[in-house]
């Protein structure tokens, strides 16, 4: 949709609700398409804000997760933790795990804060708030890609050549991205109203990371194993990682279910956001 002098905008209560879900989806797609340049500009701004006034800039995106991976490699080598049965050097396993985990954790933190961080912009200018959330999500892609590069270097160091199935990885990470963005849309709204959400997320993410087999292989039995069975995050992370390491997805049934859940959450999130974003400016 291109805005010209003939476009008429109409603001009234429960606007979208009256139009029904089908038209709403059309509106959402149109809005996102129309604002792709705005989204890009906002993402660029967020990116520069994070890394500009700093000496090593974007290397922080690499360094911070590296340190946590390093810690776990150390713990693994000293035998403090049993990381389970892993077919590749632990460092590769951990770096890929962290990279995929970041798609969730960094993405969720950034999106849920996006409306609140925009502050007076939201209450003073009318622009697409969906762009704000999407642009915020893009922030987590930077650490993701730096770690992908790092993983590639590790592969070279260990002289391992990944299976050709690695080409399917971009497709296999889509569910994770949709899952996170769907949650992000809803949490951004809720955080806009009650700041508790931001704190809950910060606590929950650390907790979830240890509960999810990110840095260790899924154990065969015990409490952690049964939790992992019903944890969609486990499937969303292990599937793309399996593709890189083994060339095939072990738990593909679980991954399929998790992917369907992700798509549902994404649409539920963005539709809820679309219906209620008009109420958020006055409450942020």
């Amino acid at each position: 949709m291109k805005v010209n002098n003939k476009t008429i905008f109409s603001y009234e209560p429960d606007n979208s609700l009256k139009r029904g879900y089908i038209r709403m989806l059309g509106e959402i797609t149109g809005e996102i398409k129309k604002n792709h340049w705005l989204t890009y500009q906002l993402a660029k701004r967020d990116f520069l804000k994070l890394y500009k006034q700093s000496f090593i800039g974007v290397f922080w995106a690499l360094l911070i997760p590296l340190i946590s991976v390093g810690t776990f490699v150390l713990l693994n080598n000293s035998g403090v933790f049993n990381m389970g049965d892993i077919d590749v050097p632990y460092a590769i396993f951990a770096v890929i795990g962290i990279a995929l985990w970041q798609l969730f954790s960094a993405g969720l933190v950034a999106t849920s804060k996006s409306l609140v961080d925009a502050g007076s912009m939201i209450t003073k200018v009318n622009f697409s708030k969906k762009s704000l959330v999407i642009a915020a999500y893009a922030q987590c892609l930077v650490p993701f890609f730096t770690q992908v590069v790092f993983a590639a270097i590790l592969f070279a160091c260990y002289r391992i050549i990944p299976d050709l199935a690695v080409l399917l990885v971009p497709l296999a990470i889509m569910p994770m991205i949709l899952f996170t963005m769907g949650l992000g849309f809803i949490l951004a709204l809720l955080n806009g109203i009650a700041r508790d959400i931001g704190n809950v997320i910060a606590v929950l993410i650390t907790f979830l990371m240890f509960l999810t087999p990110v840095l260790y292989a899924k154990p065969d039995g015990g409490l952690l194993a049964s939790i992992s069975r019903y944890n969609p995050l486990y499937y969303l992370i292990s599937a793309p990682r399996d593709l890189v390491i083994k060339g095939s997805i072990d738990a593909w049934r679980g991954f399929l279910v998790a992917a369907i859940i992700s798509v549902v959450i994404f649409f539920a999130g963005i539709v809820t956001f679309h219906m209620t974003e008009t109420r958020i400016a006055e409450r942020v």
Binding site: S10, E12, L38, L42, R45, L48, K124, R279, A281, E282
Partner: protein, 396 residues
Amino acid sequence: MHPDVVAEIEDVWKKYCKTLRRSMMYGLSDIARNALGLSSHSEKLRKKEFWALEGISAEVKKGEVLGIIGPNGAGKTTLLKLLNGIFWPDKGRIKVRGRTGALIEVGAGFNPLLTGRENIYINAAILGMTKNEVKERFQSIVEFADIGDFIDAPVKHYSSGMFVRLGFAVAVHCEPTIMLVDEVLAVGDEGFQAKCFDRLGELRKNGLATVLVSHNMHTISTNAERLILLNDGEARYFENVAEGIKEYMKQFVGINDSGLERICNSGRHIEFHGVEVNKRSFEPGESFEIQMKYEAAADYSDVEIDVGIYSSNEKGFYFQATNRAYKQPIDLHKGEGELKIHIEDIRLANALAKVAISIWSKGREELLFWWRIPVEFRDVEFSTGKNFLHVRYENI
């Protein structure tokens, strides 16, 4: 919508919540209801909610300037935000044709670390311009801002004036069909202000409609063609701007004693009593006399008598001076005495004002007297502005 109308406000109501906690709860329940496909029934007031706007209807036509005035808290900003689509009505409907521009907060989304050049792109995108539009108008934006080499410096090194200039430059280049202006033109230096008004005027010729919110009656009377007077969320409409302004002014300080403010009328060793004034309502050219008795227990030499006449609803003085300005030193001697202040030949009109008197001991070490009284300078037909000067016309 009639093709000449760019915005239509139909019986619009807007409510707010008085307490934060309830506002949070209501917000969450509204989201939950909407998510489940239920209406949030925003037309009903819940506990602690109140109507900030009550049934406003108005039209904004192509090329016109609609003024919105009213006291603080009347709902002016809320109405602008509704027109801009930032807030949505709780009842009623607003229709807007084309792009809405806003000079409400300029420089929204500026990132202090980025250069002016980089910020232009971001700000323009936020204001709704497309990539091609920005490319096309970029040079013109830079020229309008006129900040020289600073365009390539980080915005955090800008003076506040430069910041505003750049923000404005972007805002006036987004070519909206309707422009919302909220008081902001008061910032920036005068030359730049004139440039902005000139640009707005040029856009108006091409059909841009303007909605102007201001407390400055001079800005309103010289620009607006029609007026909405908001008061407590209700609107009155005036086709005649002068009439609307007069109605607005009436709301302030009726000439009665309740407007009299007295912070102090005694110092440590002196007491003032029996203050009298000759009149409270003036034609241009009349004089004001204030007379007061005092009783002093010590000598106060070379006191400072500060006299001001200032507007009762806008900021700023029509006049202010102390007796030093007139080189008339005054000593107050021990014992009883009487002080008289004459303000002669006052050339003010069309204003409700306050006369403020404060008397200080030498060096402003002690406040002896502080007193202000509302007065009226009557309207003069065929004249606006607060100063009514002595003008003679001669046909030679």
